[in-house]
Symmetry: C2
Subunit: 351 residues, 2 copies
DNA sequence: TTCATCTATGCTATCGATTACACAATACGT
DNA sequence: ACGTATTGTGTAATCGATAGCATAGATGAA
């Protein structure tokens, strides 16, 4: 249909050069007010729209950032992405999303792709199997901001935004203790991953700080899903000294455990208490709403975006900023006889 | 750090011209095998990466598509996006996501932005308030594929991918009738919206087809949330001829209704049956899992992407393809005494 | 009046890759 | 051996916008 109007079309129509048009549109002071107005009016009349590709090529800035997550449709990640989008869009950036499906090779390929697409920055939550860091090094070599969120790896020159898993677990465990529980078990997933190790440490430290004995038998590793949660709960309840509470590093594990406990007639929370982690949407919809540690994904996304913007603005190379957000504990029925949902509020902290 | 290598750098290194390098890299047949190999080897050695911005400007194809949804972090939409991404990524496209937050003005602005960014296509689920269609017309004028998914509006020359809401509702209602229910109520949301009107029609037609009386009192409009669902259920149960089942056009409404019914001691499903719509993740996690109509979001995303790819490939202007997907009914405990659940889902950990 | 100084605009190269066209060098047919 | 095909590369324009340098004309100071 109608070819797109360019500054040359406007120039021709006004019998000036493209340079003049460009300057007028960019409010360059070295242009007469009369010409500027004329150009603006004509541009509008001709329905001119700046071709951002051309600007991008010329300036070397695409105004695109790549966001890489394992799965887009996980509540946690999609919410982070929402935060990122809301923060970057007003600054004129577009957000390109990619998913790795937990595949390290795909992660590496995706990073390459984004670099070829000339993104101005990459925000990523790495896969579980990420070992080789060459692709990240390439990003740094090109002097493009790289920011890890939630799942990170230690790398010099890379900023990260995470939630304080240790503290979240600590709070959750303390809460169970405050509720009168003394034999608290812990469902973990894969302690080779920083986040789960930190949750484990927070759990353990809370026990120690309160003078409780740390019981290795009470720590069960499982795949983060409902069936595994049931199995783990069964295993724990079959111990000679069964626990009276569970702090699960995953909401799915908590749900599975609760399902099993109910099936054998245990009363929650009067008889047994459970706290999960992640504050998945379903935790609050249950007939027995599940207490859970919230990781403030929107804030995490916004913060990661802000860190990116700071780095883009500054000329410094390889800034290394580590932001650790404070989680909040959402206390619900699964752990508290008080029906009211309480949220221990905690603003963000930066270091 | 190290400036990016361009074909000129390679050309200089080999004492040929950039044209030769370009041809060699693109497997142009008019280049000698020896030169081609040499160029490829040198390109690799110099760590050459094609600048897609340059290609995009030259070719007029950015290999980016814009995807616009009301909210990125709604399970339904994020899953559609996943489908889109998985279909387009292998074809070399990047997916730019934007959200409107149900704001018509923002929708219009976003479309403009994407056009300026020279996207090759736009896939969108419109806002509830979208009335003015000028921004869509602009997309068509530029001859860029525009595809509606789920929430659409009737526009000449625009393709769409939706789920058959009418049939989904029809199936759900039939199912309730098959379960022995004879007084089936319906919770709707806003019948000004096509999707809810269609669900209503499917519900009504099923009743008529089975020879049941359609009772206007049994249709309650509500905001799609849990509290409203409770209120609506109360209102229905307080009727002189209360219903024995509810087909809700939203899962949240269904959840609210179930919560209320349980609170007044009704037994589900023996005493009362409920079916929802959307197959929200939480429906399957409940202690009493909720039957729900699945809108196959992944397939919807993939299909929308395929329609886009078809249009890009074909030279035809303004193809108008309307795809209507068949929904599936996931029967769970809230509506069936048979415990067997037929569904496809694999909940996993959050992060 | 005359030279210096602005002002407003034009000219042109540039970002990186692609491609139509041109042409030299070789190959081939009769 | 001579004209024609074929092969492999170079030249230069192009995509759209920007910006450094150049310059015509206006303004101003002495």
């Amino acid at each position: 249909m109608s070819k797109k109007t360019t500054i040359y079309d406007i120039a021709k129509a006004l019998n000036v050069t493209a340079a003049t048009v460009s300057r007028a549109l960019n409010n360059n002071p070295r242009i007469s007010e009369a010409t500027r107005q004329l150009v603006l009016k004509t541009a509008k009349k001709m329905n001119y729209k700046q071709n951002q590709l051309a600007v991008a090529l010329k300036s070397g800035k695409s105004k695109n950032v790549g966001v890489i997550v394992p799965y887009i449709d996980r509540s946690f990640f999609s919410t982070i992405i929402r935060g990122i989008e809301e923060e970057l869009n007003p600054q004129g950036y577009h957000v390109i999303i990619c998913q790795t499906l937990e595949d390290g090779k795909k992660e590496s390929d995706t990073v390459q792709n984004l670099l070829n697409a000339q993104v101005d920055g990459i925000l990523i939550s790495i896969t579980r199997q990420t070992k080789n860091l060459d692709h990240f090094q390439q990003v740094l070599n090109k002097n493009i901001p790289l920011i890890f969120f939630d799942r990170k790896t230690n790398m010099k020159g890379v900023s990260s935004v995470t939630v304080d898993d240790y503290q979240g677990a600590y709070m959750a465990t303390m809460h169970l203790i405050d509720q009168g529980c003394s034999k608290i078990a812990h469902l973990t997933v894969d302690r080779n991953l920083e986040i789960y190790e930190n949750r484990f440490r927070g759990y353990k430290q809370a026990l120690i700080d309160k003078g409780f004995h740390f019981e290795p038998d009470y720590v069960v590793a499982l795949k983060s899903d409902i069936e595994a949660g049931k199995d783990a709960a069964k295993k724990l309840l079959d111990l000679s000294h069964p626990p009276d509470a569970i702090f699960s590093a995953s909401d799915f594990g908590a749900l599975g455990a609760i399902t099993y406990l109910k099936s054998i007639g245990r009363q929650i929370p009067s008889d047994f208490r459970v706290v999960g982690f992640s504050n998945e949407p379903f935790t609050q919809f249950m007939e027995l709403p599940i207490s859970s540690v919230d990781q403030c994904p929107i804030l995490m996304g916004k913060t990661a975006a802000q860190v990116f913007l700071e780095q883009i603005d500054s000329k410094e190379i390889h800034i290394e900023k580590k932001v650790v957000l404070k989680p909040t504990l959402n206390i619900r029925k699964s752990s508290s006889t008080l029906t009211v949902e309480v949220q221990t509020s905690n603003p963000q902290s930066t270091n």
